[in-house]
Structures are given as structure tokens and as C-alpha cells.
């Protein structure tokens, strides 16, 4: 059995708004990521994907607050650490995070090499500028990025190049876990492919040892990650391998999501796109029982009665529904 790099158990976090209202954005999320593997997180806007990514870093600042649960990176618990401790010892070296608009993160007045010096010296002040430059040059070479980028300013680079540069900078300390939050959604397909290729290179060369990839674009997720977790209203509703979740979804929500996939392949024009009616629940006071019940075609009164547990069915698969897997299959066959 491979080593478990990231082990999350029952993690719950919330936002506190300026009106002192609680928004329960991540609710009892559990998963494990093994060494060399990647987990994809799918879900519609506002379901808590990005909040989960922020929560996983263990670095909480208002309005995001930690509630309960544990996050272990290679058996090291990080939820009990102080924010300062997390910033010095976890971020960058253990976990690296690429936010959605990563390419806007570069200060236009600085050369790229300055950011790298910043990152490395924050963790190891003894490194000289020459050491850092050599190290950066070497890493850029491995990742097929031209080394002259180091002496350029952000404005001189194209969108895709900026994104790849940011990824190279944030993984320069070889973190154990990379959290990529929509790293390619602002790019066109060609640049997107180069970004993904670079992430694969990082993984292949051992610069990152596991990855969490967040996007709402399912075909991309399917091609990039080993496992996929489907998130709805702050909870995981289904987990499984990429093939299983895309081609054989169990939960009615994941099934709805997979029906909205559009790819340029023969036969897709004849398919009817199915939209899921309604809108996700307000997470200020999430409904009792199944959170998807309101929009579910197959819901029964029991669905809303009590909390639905997440049932695992072996092989890394699990789902959160009142019905059994067989019962759901039967229902789908008749639908």
C-alpha cells in the first residue's frame, strides 16, 4: 500500500459574515490521497470547492473559520498549529496552492527571479542569490520553461506563460501536496494543455508527490486525475475513480452532472443535455437530511427526515444517498 500523503477526516469549516451569520461551506469532508495520486473535485459554482481548497492549507483567516476535523500531511497534524507556524513550516514546503487567478498574482514591478528569491529565502535565509538563481534555472529547464523568463517582468509574458511561471514558483520547494484551483480555466485550449502537461511533469519528476485538482470542467478532470470526488452544498456526495464517477455515477447529483458534459466527439450532438432544475440550498441554514433532495427527481419524504451518512462500498467508492446502489440503478433503469 502506497504511503498516504494527505489524510482528511471530518473536516468542517465555516464563514462568519459581517452580520454574524454562519455559512457552513465545508461539512464533514473526509478523504485520503496516496503518494503519486491525484484527486479531482467537481461541483457547480458555490458548492464549496474553493473553500475546501483554502481549508486544506490549515491557514485560517477571517472570515474563514475552522470548526472540527483533522488534516494530516504524512502523519503530521496541521489543524492544531498556530497560523504563524503553518505559514513558516507548512505552506510552500508541505502544501502549495495555486489560486484561480494565479496569473494576476505577479507584481508587475518586479522581475520573476525576485518572487523566487522571496519564496526560498522565507524558508531558508542562508541561501545566497546565486544559489537561488542556479536552482531556479535548473527547475525551469526541467519544466521546459525558457530560463530568460527569470529576468522578465510579468507584463512581458503571455497568459499561459504567466500561469506556468506561477506554478513553477509555487512548487519550487517541492511540496508534498499541490492544490490547483481551476489553474487553466482562464486559458484557451492550447495553453491549457501546456499547463496540464507541466503539472504532469512535476508529478512525474517527483517535485510534487500528490495533487488536488479543482475544476468544474468534467472532461478535463477526467483526463487529469486518478480519482474524482463530487461535491454538493459543502459535502462530498460521491467519490470513486475517474472512470467510475464519469461513466457509472451512483448519486443522482453526479449523474445529473455527467449528463451536462459536452465534448467534440461523434454522437454528442444527438444526446439531449439534461439540466438539473432549481438552485443549490443556502448554506446559512442547510436543509435537514439530504441537501440535494429538493432538486432530486427520485426524492422521497424520508430523504429529508434525517442526516444521510456517507456509505463506502469498497474500492475507494462511496456515496451519500438514502437508497442503496442497487436500488438507485433500478430507479435509473426506469427513468
Amino acid at each position: 500500500m502506497a504511503k498516504i500523503m494527505l489524510d482528511v477526516k471530518d473536516l468542517s469549516t465555516k464563514y462568519i459574515t459581517r452580520f454574524r451569520e454562519d455559512v457552513y461551506a465545508v461539512d464533514r469532508v473526509s478523504f485520503q490521497v496516496e503518494e503519486g495520486k491525484s484527486l479531482g473535485i467537481a461541483g457547480e459554482s458555490g458548492c464549496g470547492k474553493s473553500t475546501l481548497a483554502l481549508s486544506l492549507m490549515g491557514y485560517y483567516f477571517a472570515p474563514l473559520h475552522y470548526m472540527s476535523g483533522s488534516i494530516k500531511i504524512e502523519d503530521r497534524e496541521i489543524t492544531s498549529m498556530t497560523p504563524d507556524d503553518v505559514r513558516k513550516n507548512i505552506l510552500g514546503t508541505e502544501i502549495a496552492y495555486i489560486p484561480q487567478a494565479a496569473m494576476n498574482a505577479l507584481n508587475p514591478t518586479q522581475k520573476i527571479i525576485r518572487f523566487i528569491e522571496d519564496v526560498i529565502q522565507a524558508h531558508d535565509p542562508s541561501k545566497t542569490r546565486k544559489d537561488i538563481r542556479d536552482m531556479a534555472r535548473q527547475r525551469f529547464e526541467v519544466l521546459n520553461l525558457p530560463a530568460d523568463v527569470l529576468d522578465k517582468h510579468a507584463v512581458e509574458l503571455s497568459g499561459g506563460m504567466k500561469q506556468r511561471t506561477v506554478i513553477a514558483i509555487s512548487t519550487i520547494l517541492s511540496p508534498k501536496v499541490l492544490i490547483a484551483d481551476e489553474p487553466s480555466s482562464a486559458l484557451d485550449v492550447t495553453s491549457q494543455k501546456m499547463v496540464i502537461k507541466m503539472i504532469f511533469d512535476l508529478m512525474h519528476d517527483g517535485f510534487i508527490r500528490s495533487m488536488i485538482f479543482i475544476t468544474h470542467e468534467l472532461p478535463l478532470l477526467y483526463n487529469v486525475t486518478d480519482d474524482i470526488a463530487v461535491m454538493y452544498a459543502g459535502q462530498f456526495v460521491e467519490t470513486g475513480s475517474a472512470e467510475q464517477t464519469v461513466f457509472d455515477p451512483i448519486h443522482p447529483y453526479s449523474r445529473g452532472l455527467m449528463h451536462s458534459i459536452i465534448v467534440p466527439e461523434a454522437g454528442t450532438r444527438d444526446q439531449k443535455l439534461e439540466a438539473i432544475p432549481g438552485t443549490p440550498p443556502n448554506l446559512k441554514n442547510p436543509p435537514d437530511g439530504c441537501r440535494f433532495a429538493e432538486r432530486c427527481k427520485f426524492a422521497s419524504p424520508q430523504c429529508c427526515a434525517s442526516d444521510i451518512a456517507f456509505s463506502t462500498i469498497g474500492g475507494g467508492r462511496g456515496y451519500r444517498c438514502i437508497y442503496s446502489e442497487d436500488r438507485l440503478k433500478e430507479v435509473y433503469a426506469h427513468a
Binding site: 504532469f200 487529469v224 445529473g256 467534440p264 443535455l273
Partner: protein
């Protein structure tokens, strides 16, 4: 059946928008940039067309020229068989009665000081319904809202920023429903919206085509979407149209190198995606 009828009517239907040698040049001298380079196109009535290209290929510049928001450096645009004339403000307004647009970012498409009622009332007035009794106007607005699955009672007296992105985009379609233009330009209408709501928005747009025979021009970089919705696909590269034709021909059997490369770069689920065929996933499920 309906598709058959539509295909026939497209074939017989006249041109509603066409262009010959349409060119846009920005700047001059050393900074001269040819954004759109001698582009020819013919859009027929009730046809769904997609213009596909990467960022910087000149898609949006072409849209702006079609809408009359920016001048055409060279070439002619023909609207309903006649050379387009937007030389005066009044002529421009007349032109806009026939051609309308939905933009990428619903959050910046509305005047933030106008309530939603005003947005919809504007459309009724624009179509010459200014003198109608108020009751009739409210009825029309309610009908438009229900067409896009919104409730008029919930929207009245609200400002656009009180709605979600998906709701705003649907309200945009309600506007189109009221205006009933003969051509709709949709510039990346679903790129800011997640995959679930995308299906709803696309369905509504295609219903408009069915109901009132509107020509819809999608401008997008999402090739999957272009393939799914359109009859005809135009592929743009650096201001030039490199390939056009029926969706099946262009997407499934691309001829131009650029199109082939573009389609190769799109992640797919049944066919392996280039360097990720490390897993031969498809073998199990096909």
C-alpha cells in the same frame, strides 16, 4: 421531424447577414495590427452558427463590427440582403432592432442604476409597444420571465446585482425573447457559468430558434459547445477564417492544420487525450 423542417428552411431561407472582405486594422505604421483580415461569411435565416477561435484570433472584434459598435476598415456587411447602413443614430437603432447580443459577463451587462422592470420595459418600448396599457406590458414581461424559468413577481423592484450570475444571464435571454430580433450574437454566453446551468441556457437559446426562427451566432472557444449547438462552424485563426462548413465536417473531419490541432487539444472522454492516454481508460467502458 422538426430538425428536418428546420434544415430545409435554412437551405431555402435567404441570407440574413453576410460579409465580403471584412477587415479591421488597429493602429498604423509600425503598430499596425490586422485584427480581422478579409473575412467572408454568409449566415442564413434560422441557422445556428459558431465562430470558434483562440484568444486573440479576432472573434470579438468581428462581433463588434457585426453589431456596429466599431467601424469596419474595409469590406462590406450586408443585412437582410442590403448593404448595412448605420451612418446615423436613428439608422443604428433600427439596425439594433434586428440584431441583438448576449455578452460573456452578465455582471457588467446591466446598468446598475436601473431596476429589472426598467430593463424589460425598455425592450417593449424599443419594439414599439410604448403606447400599450400597463397591464398588457406586465403580462408581456411575466411571459418573458416564465420563458426563462424566472418568476416576474420575485424580480420586480429588484436591481440586477441582487441576482445570481445564472439568473442574470437568463434575464438577458428574457430581453431577447421580448425583442425578438432576427439575429442574436452570443459572445461566450456560458463561459462564466458552470456546467449545470450551461445546459439550461443553451436549451433556452435553442428554443428561441425553434419558436421564432432566430439566427443565432455563438462566438466561443469551447469546441464541444460549438459542435453541440451549431449547424455551421467557422474556425478563426489570427483574423482569418481558416475553415468553415457543417459542424460534423469541421469538427469530426477537420481539414485545416489549425483546426486539427485545436480539436486535438480539447480534453475528451471517450477518446484518449494525447499525452494522457497513459491509462487506456476507454478500453473498459466502450
Amino acid at each position: 421531424m422538426l430538425e428536418q423542417v428546420l434544415t430545409n428552411s435554412i437551405a431555402q431561407g435567404g441570407l440574413c447577414l453576410s460579409g465580403k472582405g471584412v477587415t479591421k486594422i488597429f493602429g498604423m505604421g509600425a503598430r499596425r495590427t490586422v485584427a480581422v483580415d478579409h473575412v467572408d461569411f454568409e449566415f442564413r435565416k434560422s441557422e445556428v452558427i459558431s465562430i470558434v477561435g483562440e484568444s486573440g484570433s479576432g472573434k470579438t472584434t468581428l462581433v463588434k463590427m457585426l453589431l456596429g459598435l466599431t467601424s469596419v476598415t474595409e469590406g462590406d456587411i450586408y443585412f437582410m440582403g442590403q448593404k448595412r447602413d448605420i451612418s446615423s443614430r436613428k439608422k443604428k437603432h433600427d439596425y439594433w432592432r434586428g440584431i441583438q447580443a448576449i455578452f460573456q459577463d452578465p455582471f457588467s451587462s446591466y446598468n446598475i442604476f436601473h431596476k429589472i422592470d426598467a430593463v424589460l420595459l425598455d425592450c417593449i418600448n424599443m419594439r414599439g409597444g410604448k403606447g400599450l396599457p400597463k397591464k398588457k406590458k406586465v403580462e408581456m414581461m411575466a411571459e418573458a420571465c416564465s420563458f426563462v424559468n424566472l418568476k416576474y413577481e420575485e424580480l420586480t423592484n429588484k436591481y440586477p446585482f441582487e441576482l445570481s450570475g445564472g439568473q442574470m444571464q437568463r434575464l438577458m435571454i428574457a430581453r431577447i425573447f421580448l425583442l425578438q430580433p432576427s439575429i442574436l450574437l452570443a459572445d461566450e454566453p456560458t463561459s462564466m457559468i458552470d456546467a449545470c446551468s450551461r445546459a439550461t441556457i443553451l436549451d433556452m437559446l435553442l428554443n428561441l430558434r425553434k419558436d421564432i426562427g432566430m439566427t443565432i451566432i455563438f462566438v466561443t472557444h469551447d469546441i464541444g459547445l460549438a459542435y453541440y449547438v451549431s449547424d455551421t462552424v467557422y474556425i478563426m485563426e489570427r483574423g482569418k477564417i481558416v475553415e468553415f462548413g457543417g459542424a460534423d465536417d469541421v469538427i469530426l473531419r477537420p481539414k485545416a492544420d489549425y483546426t486539427q490541432r485545436l480539436i486535438q487539444d480539447v480534453p475528451k472522454i471517450h477518446e484518449p487525450w494525447d499525452f494522457t492516454n497513459r491509462k487506456a481508460r476507454t478500453a473498459v467502458f466502450v
